[in-house]
């Protein structure tokens, strides 16, 4: 099965974008690739959703940006989680586990 463009719930997309940056600062393309990677190729976030989300997160202070040289020696804008972004990531991870637990229980109860 090929990579699908999936219309994710916004909360889910936020969680994935934050999660993708948890290890190291990444630029927009890097974040997109990382999401594809950590979802095993199941999700491919469109740039039309990714960049607005990144800017919204930057406005909220969850991430901060910095221009630096990319892996092929070009300038790129790298995003990094701030402390409030890490806290947000933990909250969303907890919320998501909760949802999964509840939904799983609900589905299996039948």
């Amino acid at each position: 099965m090929g990579a699908r463009r999936t219309d994710l719930l916004r909360g889910t997309l936020d969680l994935l974008i934050l999660k993708a940056q948890a290890l190291e600062p990444l630029h927009g393309v890097g974040i997109s690739r990382r999401i594809t990677q950590i979802t095993g190729g199941a999700f491919q976030v469109s740039f039309g959703s990714l960049f607005p989300s990144l800017h919204r997160m930057e406005e909220k202070g969850w991430i901060e940006a910095e221009w630096r040289a990319s892996e092929n020696n070009r300038r790129a804008k790298y995003y990094r989680l701030t402390s409030s972004g890490r806290a947000q990531l933990r909250t969303e991870e907890r919320d998501w586990s909760q949802v999964v637990k509840i939904m799983t229980a609900a589905v299996e109860s039948a």
Binding site: V29, S46, P52, H55, N72, R75, A76, K77
Partner: protein
């Protein structure tokens, strides 16, 4: 909070810089994607084409980001307004003082500006206002006297013996007593020469102004009323033309009503003809009248 303020100013004041940064970011993304695809063996042109397709249109992405930024800005603004209202509600004393200070400040400024605007910037709507002057007479060491007053014979000479004025009107004003039916009212009245209204280019809203002949003693028992005088003393009645008013014990027939905005010199209620006896017309010692030309 400081981050939010910084972002507010970044968005507001440096809109172009923000747009430029966004443009740079997307161009850099295009390059990164192109590079990635070239590593897969595509030509530069083909790699770039596919990169642009994957990005989904630089302009479309920019629009979406801008919408986010604007949305955040409005949201922040709403939060600030709510925060501001709450803070003000919590300290009503401070709020009252602040509001009063602002109100007084704005009010005083408005009042002064209105005055300056009316007096200095748009004083009168006379015809050829830029060609109308008040004629003053410098009295040198006798400066204690009012320079605005000149002698009637001098005024006549200023007009007849120079080429300065195409027309020169004279007037003098005082507070007279108006006998209304029940009481005597102080009333600001001006005696004016017959060409006074014509020189200013203002015609009565109702009736007529003075004729040359009404400047002669004995034929001068006519009056032009101000709009407010007409409203208050004459009942605002169009048939007031021809009515009589008694001023200083003398009866004048109202022949005209001036437009509401006409007010020259200030706050005058009645204008009557300036009918000087010959000896006064020839007088150079008494600076008894004013001139405008």
């Amino acid at each position: 909070m400081p981050g939010r303020i910084a972002s507010f100013f970044r968005n507001l004041l440096l809109k172009r810089t923000v747009d430029q940064a966004l443009e740079d970011e997307l161009q850099s993304a295009v390059e990164l994607l192109t590079h990635e695809k070239m590593k897969q063996g595509l030509s530069h042109a083909e790699a770039r084409r596919r990169a642009l397709i994957e990005l989904g249109g630089v302009e479309q992405v920019k629009e979406k980001v801008r919408a986010i930024r604007l949305g955040r800005f409005l949201e922040t603004l709403a939060q600030d307004v709510r925060f501001g209202s709450r803070t003000m509600a919590k300290s009503p004393g401070f709020t009252t003082v602040a509001v009063l200070t602002l109100a007084l400040g704005i009010g005083a400024n408005t009042a002064i500006f209105s005055m300056v605007n009316a007096l200095l910037l748009h004083p009168y709507n006379f015809r050829d206002l830029d060609r109308i002057v008040l004629v003053w007479q410098d009295q040198g060491s006798e400066a204690a006297f009012d320079d605005r007053n000149i002698a009637p014979a001098d005024a006549a000479d200023f007009f007849l013996r120079t080429n300065i004025f195409s027309s020169l009107a004279t007037y003098r004003c005082r507070t007279d007593s108006l006998d209304s039916n029940t009481e005597v009212l102080p009333t600001d009245a001006c005696e004016v020469s017959a060409n006074f209204f014509g020189l200013l280019g203002i015609s009565p809203a109702l009736g007529r102004s003075f004729a040359e002949s009404e400047q002669q003693l004995g034929r001068d028992a006519v009056a032009v009323a101000s709009y407010s005088f007409w409203e208050r003393q004459l009942g605002g009645d169009p048939s007031a033309i021809g009515k009589a008013v008694r001023l200083n014990g003398r009866t004048y027939t109202v022949i005209g009503i001036m437009p509401r905005e006409f007010n020259f010199p200030v706050s005058i209620q009645l204008w009557i003809p300036l009918a000087l006896p010959p000896e006064q017309q020839a007088d150079r010692s008494q600076r008894s009248i004013q001139a405008i030309g």
